[in-house]
Structure formats: C-alpha cells, structure tokens
Symmetry: C2
Subunit: 458 residues, 2 copies
Amino acid sequence: MYLDELWKKESELIGKSVEVHGWIRNHRPQKEFGFIDFSDGTSMKHLQIVYDETSSSFADFVKLHIGSAILVKGILQKSEGKGQDVELKATDITLLGDCPEDYPLQPKRHTNEFLRSIAYLRPRANLFQAVFRVRSVCAMAIHEYFQSHGYVYTHTPLITTAACEGEDQMFKITTFDFDNIPKREGVVDFSKDLFKRQAYITGSGQLQGEAFATAFSKIYTFGPTFRTENSNTKTHANEFWMIEPEIAFCDLNGLMDIEEDMLKSVVRYVLLHAKEEILFLDKFQEPGLFQKLSKLVESTFTRVSHEEVITILKNADVPFEFTPQYGEDISKEHEKYITEYFDGPVFITNWPKDIKSFYMKQNDDGKTVAGVDLEIPGIGELMGGSEREADYQKLHNRMVELGMNPLEMDWYLNLRKFGSVVHSGFGLGFERLILYLTGVENIRDVIPFPRTPGSCEF
Amino acid sequence: MYLDELWKKESELIGKSVEVHGWIRNHRPQKEFGFIDFSDGTSMKHLQIVYDETSSSFADFVKLHIGSAILVKGILQKSEGKGQDVELKATDITLLGDCPEDYPLQPKRHTNEFLRSIAYLRPRANLFQAVFRVRSVCAMAIHEYFQSHGYVYTHTPLITTAACEGEDQMFKITTFDFDNIPKREGVVDFSKDLFKRQAYITGSGQLQGEAFATAFSKIYTFGPTFRTENSNTKTHANEFWMIEPEIAFCDLNGLMDIEEDMLKSVVRYVLLHAKEEILFLDKFQEPGLFQKLSKLVESTFTRVSHEEVITILKNADVPFEFTPQYGEDISKEHEKYITEYFDGPVFITNWPKDIKSFYMKQNDDGKTVAGVDLEIPGIGELMGGSEREADYQKLHNRMVELGMNPLEMDWYLNLRKFGSVVHSGFGLGFERLILYLTGVENIRDVIPFPRTPGSCEF
C-alpha cells in the first residue's frame, strides 16, 4: 500500500494489519527497540515504524541502512510519541534494496548547492518533495482553470524556422555532423539538413497561439521554451516552462480581468491541494508564506499606466540607483517600490512602444503600446501581456520599422486580413510562479534537472 | 458573449436580447432575408443568425463576406428551420474585421493536403475544430487520471547531453555559428558552446523519470519529444508529445493493470467531455467511431507472451508477407491478426531481449525481457513499457554488452545502488492516441503545426 492511500483511510486502519513499501529516511536503532522514519514519497507526511526486541529478527532490523528500500508488515496503532498520531508496529521488515553507508543524502542539513550536484537524488529530500509536488499541483491548477473556462489547450510547435523573437536568443537545431558541415560555394547548405532550412527551438508559442485563438477564441499553451541567454543568475535558466493564453474578442482590460482571476484561482487551488507542502515551506523555507498567499487571493490588483508609475517614482523620496524616466523601462528597485506603494499586485499598462515587442497594439498617442506587466510584491514581474496589433497595415509598418521581413511571417500578418479581431494574450513563466508559491529563491531549485550555462548534467 | 456560455444558458435565454461575437462560416443572403452560419469556435455547435429586410441595414448585411468577424445583437428565438433548435434574430450586425473574397477557407470540401498548406487557418474548419478540441480534452483527461491517482507531474528536461537512446536519432542543439564552428587542433571545441558539451534535444524523459519515481513512487511526464527520423509516413513526425509514467513498487503485471485502467478512464473522459466532437467525427471521419470507443472501455485486455503470439501466428491460416519467427519482432500484419484473434486489445509480454532496450528487466530465462507492448484493434501498438532492470550489476553488464559507456550514466546506474526497487513504466505516444480517438489517419492532421522532414512552416 502507498502512504497516500494509507493516510486517506487512516482512522479505519487503526488496529489493522497493514503492508507498506518505501524508503528509510532516518533510523534510530536503540537497545530494546528502534524507530524508522519511513516514506514512499506519496505524501509529505511520513510514517513512523517501530520495532522491538520481541521480534525474532530484531538483530537484522537494527542494521538497516538509511536510504534502503523496505517492505514492512505490521499493525497500525495510535502513537504515544510526539510528532505523529499513529505509527506502524512492525511484525516483519523485508529489505528490498540496500543502500551503502556512503549514501550522499544523509538525514542532515545539506546546502542547496550540494543538492544540485546530486539532482537525481534530491527529490527524496523533504524540501524537494514539497517543491516538486507544489510544481505538479500548480500545473494541474492551471489546466483546471483554463479547461473549466472553455480554453483549448494548444500544443504549439517547439521546432521553428521563424526566428522573429531574436535569432541570437534561440538554440539552433540540426542533424549535421559539426566536423563536416555541408557547404555549397562556401555557404552552409541547409538543403542537406532535415528541414532543408536553418531551424531553431522556440522561445514562445504566442504567434501560433494567435492563429488558434482566431479559430477557438480561447486557447492556452503550456510547454517548455528555451533561451540561449548566457546568464548565471538566480532567475535565469536556458530551459523553462511557459503558459501562454490567447483570447479573441478580448481587450487590455479584459486581459487583466483574466490574469487576476486566473492567478487567484491557481493560488487558491494550490492552498487547497498542497496545503501540507505549503505549511512545510512556511515553516522551513519562507516564514509567512501561507499568509502571503492567502492575502494574495483576497487582494485588489491596482491598474496604473507606465506614465503614472514614472510620476510616482519621480515623486518618491527614495534614493534609487537608477533614475526613473518617462519613455524608459523600470528596474527591479522601481518594481519593488510600486508594489509596496500600492500594497499589493499592480498591473502597469501602456508602455513606451520602443521597449516592447513589435506585435503589441499601438495606441493612438503614437508613443505607447497596449502592453501590461503584472508586478507582484516580493517577486516582481510575474506575467507580461498585451492586446495584439489587429490592424494589418500598422503591424506591417512596425515590422518594417524594426528591420523585420514581413514576407517571412506572412501567415501571421494574414491573421489580420481574414476576419481580424481584437485579441490579447499573456505569458506566465511557470518557474517564476513556483518560486513565488514555494519561497524558494533560486530557479535551479524548482526545476527537476535545471539547464544553465555550462550545466547540463543528468 | 461566447457561444459555449450561450449554449449552457440556452433555455433561459430564449426570447431575450443577446450579443455574440464570432466569425461568418457561411452566408446565404436571399432576397428578403439571410442566414449566417456563425461560430466563435468555443463549441462544435454553430449559431444560425437570421436577418430580414425589416432591418434598416439589410443592404449592408447581405454583403457580409464569409470569414469576416462580426458582432451581432439580436433576440434568441426558437427556430422553425431544420438543423437547429434556436436561432438569433439579428437586430444589429457590426463588421469587426472584413475578409476578402479570395479567403482560402471557403465553406466547401477541401482536401487535408490543401488544409495542411494553410495550417494557420485550418483550425477554423469543422474537422480541425473537432480534432484539436479532442486533443485538448484528452490531454486534460490524462492529467486528471494521474493527478487523481497520486502521481506527481514531472517536467523532465528536453535538453540533454546523454545520448543513450541513440545519438543519430537526436537533434543536436547549439549556439554555434555554422559558418564558423570553433575548433581546437582540428576538433570541434565544444567548450565554446553554451553547455560546454555537445547537447541534444531528447527523445524521452524516462531515465530522469525513473529518478523521480524513486523519490515520489508515482510520477508521470507529459511533454514534447523529438526524433530525427527521415521518414515520410502517415505515422511519423519529428516532434510529438509523449506521456511517460514511472511507478516504483510496481511489476509488469501491475503496470498492465495501470495501462488498462488509464486508457479506459481517458477514453471514458473523452466520450463524456467531447461527446459532440466524437459524434461529429463518427459522422464525417470514421463511421462507428463512437461505438469503437464505447466498446474499448468495456473490453477485456488479453495478456499473452511474445512466444505464445508467435505460436498463434505460425498456426494461423493466413499468407503473411513476413514469416513470424520466435526471437524476432512482429510486423503490422501480425499485430492486426493478433488483435482480431483475441477480438480486443492485447498486451504482448516478455519480448526477446535483443530487440528491446537496455533498461528492461532481464528475465531468468536469459533470453527475454519483462517488456510489454499494448496492441489495440485498428491502430496497432499504442503503448510500450517494461519493468526496469533494478539490479545494478545486470544493468551494468547489459550496457557494456551493447557498447554503451556506463560511466556516462553513472547517476542512472546509481538508482540501483541507493535503495533500488522494482519499478516499471510505459510510454504513450499522444498523437497515436489522438489518431485512435478521432479516426484521423495522418499524424500531420492531429498536430497543430506538424514538423516532418522538409516541412517546418509557420
């Protein structure tokens, strides 16, 4: 029996014979009895196994190593010890898989840096049990939200030949032998590659998502994305997951309604379905986490323009490292000030067009676009979105202005030709949400096997 | 209002004023009135819009083009026409986005080949409305099944340096400029690449999934995978999605229980949540589809060994193109015969070890491995799985036998050193399941933007 089943039926199993399989997380053998901290990883709640010298195999039990896999038969009983309500009084313990004494994951405090070096073992540690279960529950919360609101989950392609978001930020993929790249007249001969063109793995599914939004009205993507950024910070990874909803007949205000509703709904779901994990993280990772999340679902999200934000920052009696400027981006310190100023999440709208992407709807002022960033206290930007430019000519002109070739994206432009509609979408970096939900500080610790510059182990 | 909301509240909205936005799928203007086949893509069920010459804008209405986006105000009323129960009597129609008369997606029968050439528009066609909504619902069914059974959804990495499943089948990824590959002493200098090694995008998350199964007991992956196969058939694509559950404390029989339960549960979910889509596909794509799927959820799955299968095939009074042989793989015609022989799904177990992967548990006979393929009537192999070799030495020896370097996968081997347990897993090709669920024949028609050799458009 797995532990998650056992805990569900706990009360009816007391006094009954039970059989469980799992691993020894800790072991305290004593003279006349012993305690095993036992878990199979299906629940944050471990089971305490007790055995004593009345067992004929007592001498074998005391020798069991930490990390070993065991099968335990026994009687579930009320516990007199503190820390648990019930325990399993073992009548029989079978060693399924031994573990040597030099097992790297000893039951003591390890640094996160060390644990990254044994990423294939760290999910057995309590912190990562909590983090990766929250990650799983949160992914389900996202699917649950969009599916129950009539969105079609769309698998946009990862392999792409359109390098519109900046070729230098995308990994190239190929079947070529690097020792022998085929050339013709001195130039790489991509006609010999599998797709007969230079291909990349993508950093976004948005453009294809827009095509599906003009067919299903409401769609979302949820999949891995890639950036080549050669940056070793706590918030950067070269492979991460993104959620990109795209909604037809939805303007910037409608988009903010959806972002706010979705985020609150997802946090509510996680508080409900991963409560034990959040309480564990509240205790050992970020004191106040549970309250922070509970506050978020009750909070009002402020909506304010980029211009108003700059005015507030300029009037602030704070010595910023970077001086806030109209028409320019804001820095981390500004984001922090603004969420504190409004004491809650803030949607910043209508950004200067020159610091935003080509596909954002151009406002009538000729200077700004209908983009929106959501700033969350304690984490900064969590989602970025916009109304999309729905006018063929305006979009075409903007692409030309930016030196892009509209011919390479004629299908994308054509969405504005064949029944164009107001539509909007946003991107949510999944890992950033998990950092917020778990209180973990480094993106490397919320990804099962993180990929960062120079690091691609396991 | 979106149509999915309208249909939910249909009965209470009759006689009321309603406002909808969407696209003109077809338009039949007549002398004194007109009919618009209207949809916003949120439901298989379209809405019929009627207007007549009593409207002051009648002259404008009749000119509306197919493919245009419109906003319609009117009264929802019972319909006297056949084909629908209600219709919207328009009082006002606003043109949101026009569509030229050369719109490629005219309301007539197009070939699937032509529709692939306009993959950014084809989701607007009824067939693809059904297919991609089934795809979305089925993805949710899979998440729902595993989450409700206590599995942890694990995002295994796509970028990998372990090319254990065959380097020649994997795409290489790089940040190198192909015109200028850095070399040192005549050899490619990977220390200059982002990961400082040759990296690939993966064909499977299984190995990392096993690491997580030894931490959480029950995990599943669901993500994109890649193969470089240069093969232009109806069942091959270079990018596709896979589901790979991995379960600790589970042997081959337990695995088959899970596969059968999961498949029936997913099909049941799709029949319930995408009923209109399945009925549409039953009518226009595969007559008998609904019954086929209903039969599956009630059927008994046979379990038979590879050896028994060969014996059955050898005794069959059928002129096979390929002669069945003990110790060898079976062909499509054999799969077909076997599912017909048992009149239902068949698990074929205990395969000759030389035709299966290195990680499968070696049986005591020294000749076979504890692998299992699930054969489904009409589609052939749908899932492939196995008990995994849990013995360090046996796995090590097998890798050496096959010319693999155990040092490159020491972490994977170490899972057999630190509390090794019986564990099993399977892979389910998501697209193959969608082909089965929709009756569609070509994998290119169940992937939003398919990637196949020479084809990487949009």
